[in-house]
């Protein structure tokens, strides 16, 4: 089986400082990978390098494209990479404001990716937008409201709808539940889990919240100081952490 995404020797330096160093892993179709670690451990740098937002200093990101099979997205041309970014890839930002157009209605936000790939029928775009708002549990009556009038949780769900409307195969998520209160987090996780299972999505989730990866991720990587210190099945890593830092991380979670 061909991995959907294969990362080899990913390294990003900020001058003398290491962002992430020599990270390698494979992600298979339908698999959800969690990346955990403390602030500054290089999680987001790694994610941005994989998603093409940052240019890595070394390494490959080989993605199994629909048309041409496995291609290295780091060396592919910018138009191709941006095309991937709005078709087969999706990126969910931690802050919904970074991923949404705040001056454009909810329907326009969801429709943007459709129009970007050439959809030119208003009625169809609107139907799809309505359908997707329903799937992320936003009232269809809010379709013409701007995201500025939405609550934080709704904004985050709208961002997810906007990203998934073109049926991507790989979703990058950067702290998707950050900044939300626990009950809203729980509903969002529930929703994400449903979408990931229904659509057969592969996802890479960066978070510092172990509960999120426990619920969503099949596999886990623990990062510290830009390096992967432990990797394995989620339950295995969380229940029987081997590395000292993983043990610290797991034991730091408050048991309520």
């Amino acid at each position: 089986m061909t991995p959907l995404l294969s990362v080899q020797g990913m390294t990003k330096r900020y001058g003398a400082h290491i962002g992430c160093a020599d990270v390698s892993f494979d992600l298979y179709p339908g698999e959800v990978m969690g990346i955990v670690g403390e602030s500054g451990s290089g999680k987001s740098t790694l994610l941005n390098c994989m998603a093409g937002h940052l240019r890595p200093d070394a390494g490959q990101v080989v993605f199994d494209t629909r048309t041409d099979g496995p291609r290295d997205t780091v060396t592919m041309s910018e138009p191709e990479r941006r095309m991937l970014g709005r078709t087969d890839w999706a990126f969910v930002h931690q802050h919904a404001r970074d991923g949404l157009r705040m001056g454009v209605s909810a329907g326009g936000n969801v429709g943007e990716r459709l129009m970007a790939v050439g959809e030119r029928h208003y009625g169809d775009i609107r139907d799809k937008a309505t359908d997707w708002l329903g799937r992320v549990e936003i009232d269809a009556a809010r379709i013409d409201d701007r995201p500025t009038t939405f609550s934080g949780g709704m904004q985050q769900r709208l961002q997810i709808a906007r990203n998934l409307v073109t049926g991507p195969r790989l979703v990058f998520m950067d702290e998707p539940t950050g900044g939300l209160d626990v009950s809203v987090q729980a509903r969002l996780l529930d929703l994400l889990r449903g979408l990931v299972r229904d659509m057969g999505l592969s996802a890479i989730i960066v978070t510092h919240d172990l509960a999120v990866v426990r619920l969503l991720a099949d596999r886990l990587m623990v990062m510290k100081n830009g390096r992967v210190v432990e990797a394995g099945l989620t339950d295995q890593v969380l229940d029987d952490p081997q590395h000292a830092y993983s043990q610290l991380l797991v034991s730091s979670v408050l048991q309520v």
Binding site: G107, G111, M115, Y122
Partner: protein
């Protein structure tokens, strides 16, 4: 008139502008940066158009200026006088006598022919400006032909108003490649942009951009399949000349709700009146 170089600008500046114009003509719809000069008029009064006119004028040219279609409004009169004084060229208000026409916000009703140049004054050359404020990003979007965002604007129009409510500066796609802001002409004029015999040059002074449409260029107004582009005008005949097919200005004529509709193109209206056409409000 020896105090100024011909047409005010020095020859090096005109040369620089002509190079930008040639590049613009070679890549229809592409915004060419140019070193816009300080002109003796404020930004927003047509400094871009004036610089383009200065660069293309020759002593043999006949010059016409229109502002919202009219030859006799402040902007038109001042720019016409400016080139009368600094270039000494002949001026006219008759569209078919002019070789260079500088315009603000209209295309003349009368079809332009080969050998004529239409110079537009452009306030904001970037059609994506209000959707994507970062210039670095819009340039990238142009270069990679990522124009989905332009349709988001039209989508928002329909969702809010039930139809595409953008009525001026209506975005167009040039030769299937660049999306271009046609300057704030009414969308009624959009169909005239395409396949025009005359050369069309666009100058934005404050924004320091020049773009151009060579003769007989394909220009398509953006739309949706189920909401096609429509060139709209006020649904009245002209009150002065009775024309049914021209773009109209609505004038308030008293404080009791009285109004009349007249051609915005004064030369077109006067020519029709001289030919004996009469509208219902004509004296």
């Amino acid at each position: 008139m020896n105090a100024y170089n011909f047409a005010y600008l020095d020859e090096q500046t005109k040369r620089m502008i002509r190079r930008a114009l040639l590049k613009g003509l070679a890549i229809p719809g592409y915004q060419v940066p140019f070193a816009s000069r300080e002109m003796p008029m404020p930004y927003g009064w047509g400094t871009g158009g004036v610089q383009v006119s200065a660069a293309v004028l020759t002593p043999e040219d006949t010059f016409k200026v229109i502002d919202q279609g009219a030859d006799d409004t402040t902007n038109a009169v001042s720019i016409r006088t400016f080139f009368q004084r600094t270039a000494g060229v002949a001026t006219t208000t008759v569209t078919h006598d002019a070789t260079v026409i500088q315009t603000r916000h209209r295309i003349p009703e009368e079809a332009l022919g080969e050998g004529q140049i239409l110079v537009y004054q452009v306030p904001i050359p970037e059609p994506l400006r209000f959707l994507e404020p970062r210039e670095s990003e819009t340039r990238k979007m142009h270069s990679l032909e990522e124009y989905g965002l332009m349709h988001v604007k039209l989508y928002e129009d329909i969702s809010r108003h039930g139809h595409i409510a953008t009525s001026y500066a209506y975005p167009v796609k040039v030769e299937g490649r660049y999306v271009m802001d046609p300057s704030p002409i009414p969308k009624f004029d959009n169909p005239k942009l395409g396949d025009m015999a005359a050369i069309q040059l666009f100058g934005a002074g404050r924004e320091q951009r020049i773009y151009a449409l060579p003769p007989y260029t394909q220009v398509v107004s953006l739309d949706f399949e189920d909401h096609p582009f429509e060139a709209t005008k006020a649904d009245h005949p002209c009150g002065m000349c009775g024309a049914q097919d021209s773009y109209l200005d609505e004038l308030i004529i008293d404080d009791a709700g009285g109004r009349m509709f007249v051609c915005s193109d004064t030369d077109y209206c006067e020519a029709r009146q001289a030919a004996g056409h009469k509208g219902k409000d004509a004296a």
